[in-house]
Amino acid sequence: MKPETYSTDYTMWRLLAWCGPIFMTVFFFMWGVFAGNLPPAGADLDAAQITAHYLNNGMAIRIGMSVCMVGSAFYMAWGCAVSKVMRRIEGPDGILSNLEMMGATITCAPLLVACGIWLTASIEAPQLPPAIIHMMYWLGWMIIDIAYMVTTFQIFAVGIVFLRDQREKPLMPAWISWWGFVTCAAFFPVSLIPFFKTGPFAFHGLFNFWIAFFTWYIWVTAVSFNIIRAISRLQQEDGAASPSAAQQRAGVLITG
C-alpha cells in the first residue's frame, strides 16, 4: 500500500468564496430592487393594500423570488469556503468552523421558505382572498427575520476564530470580526417585529430593516472579499513552507 497525497484545490475554494458576492448581488437586485423590497411594502398595510401590491407588481415579484430561491444556495456554498479558511486557523479539531458552515447552510432555509411563500402569494394573488395574501406576506417576514439566531451563531463563530489568528498580519482584518459582533447586536431587536406595525421596530422600520439588514450585508461583503484574499495567502504559505508539497497540492496526485 503506497501513500496517497491529495491536492488542495484552491481554485475550487476561490470559486466557492466568490459565491458570497454572487449571493449579495442576487439578493440586493432581485429581492431588494426588482421585487420591490427596498423599502418593503410595510407592516402597516392592510389586506387590501398588500393584495394590491402583489397584483400591481406580480411579475416582478414572481421573477425576483424565483431567482432568489435559486440564489440563496450560494450563501451555503460561500459558507463552505469560509469554514475551510477558518479550519486553517483553529486546526482540524476546531468546532467553530463547523458551527459557521452549519450556520451558513441553515441560513438558506428561512431565505428559501420566505421567498417561496412570497412567490406563491404573487402567483395566487388574483384568486385568493386578501386576508390570505396578507397572512402570507407576514408569514414570509416572520420566517426570514426571526430566524436570525442561526446567522448570529455563524457570524459569532467567524468573529472569534479570525480574532484568534496568530499571524503577524491576520488573514482577516480585526475590524471585520468586530463588525460581525455589531451585526449580532443589531439582530436581537428583530425579535420585536411581531409587536409593531409602525416605528423603528416594525419589520420595515429604521432599526429592524435598514440597520439589521445592512449591517449584515456589509459583513457578508467584507468577509467575502477578505476570504478570497486569504485563500491566495494560504496558497502562498503552503508554497513557502514546502515547495515540493506545494507542487503536489497544485495537482500532482502521487499514487505510485
Binding site: S177, W178, F196, P200
Partner: protein, 194 residues
C-alpha cells in the same frame, strides 16, 4: 528624545484593541439613531410622551444610574490595579462591578414588573414602545457585559492581568463604560426630558 516620543506614543494609545472601538462606535451610532428617532416621534406627539413620562419612576432611573456609575468605578479600579501590578486587587474589583451589573438587572426587572402590573406594556403607546425597547436593548448589553466581566474575573483570579498584559481587561472595561454611558444618555431622555 526617542524615549520621550515612545512614552508619548504609549500614553496616547487607545485602551484595548482597535476592533473594540469599531464595535463601540457602531453600537453607539445605532443607539444614536434610535435616540434621534425617539426625539422625532416625541415632537409629533409631545403631550402623550410628556404624560407617559410622568408614569415612570425617576427613583428607579436614578438608582440604576448610581449602580452603573459605581460599577464603572470598580472597573476603573480593576484596570488601575492591573497597571500598578496589584494583581490580587483586580479580581475583587471585577467581582464588585459584576454584582452591580446583577443589581441593575434586578432593579430593571422590578421596574418592568411594576409597569406590567399596572397594565402598561410596550404596546400601550409609542412612548412605552421606545421605553421598553431602548431599555430592553440596553439590558441585553448589561447582560452581555456581565458575561464579559465574569470571564475577566475568572482570568484575573488566575493572575492573568498586570501592567504588561492588560489589553483584554481594557477591552472589557471599554465595553462596560459604553454600557454605562448609554444609560447616562437614556436616563434623562426617557425619565427627565421635559
Amino acid at each position: 528624545m526617542a524615549t520621550a516620543a515612545a512614552r508619548l506614543q504609549q500614553a496616547r494609545r487607545l485602551p484595548g484593541v482597535e476592533g473594540v472601538w469599531v464595535f463601540i462606535a457602531a453600537d453607539m451610532a445605532m443607539f444614536g439613531l434610535l435616540f434621534v428617532s425617539f426625539m422625532l416621534e416625541r415632537q409629533k406627539n409631545l403631550a402623550l410622551f410628556e404624560h407617559s413620562r410622568h408614569t415612570l419612576d425617576a427613583n428607579f432611573g436614578g438608582i440604576n444610574t448610581l449602580i452603573l456609575l459605581t460599577s464603572s468605578w470598580f472597573v476603573v479600579l480593576a484596570v488601575d490595579a492591573a497597571k500598578r501590578n496589584r494583581v490580587q486587587r483586580v479580581a475583587p474589583c471585577l467581582a464588585a462591578a459584576m454584582i452591580c451589573g446583577f443589581a441593575f438587572t434586578v432593579s430593571k426587572a422590578l421596574e418592568y414588573a411594576d409597569k406590567l402590573r399596572s397594565g402598561i406594556s410596550m404596546l400601550t403607546n409609542d412612548f412605552y414602545m421606545y421605553y421598553f425597547a431602548l431599555t430592553g436593548i440596553h439590558l441585553l448589553h448589561v447582560a452581555a457585559g456581565c458575561v464579559v466581566l465574569a470571564v475577566l474575573w475568572k482570568r484575573a483570579r488566575a493572575g492573568t492581568y498586570n501592567s504588561a498584559q492588560c489589553v483584554g481587561l481594557e477591552c472589557g472595561a471599554s465595553y462596560w463604560h459604553m454600557v454605562d454611558l448609554l444609560w447616562i444618555l437614556l436616563f434623562p431622555l426617557l425619565y427627565l426630558l421635559r
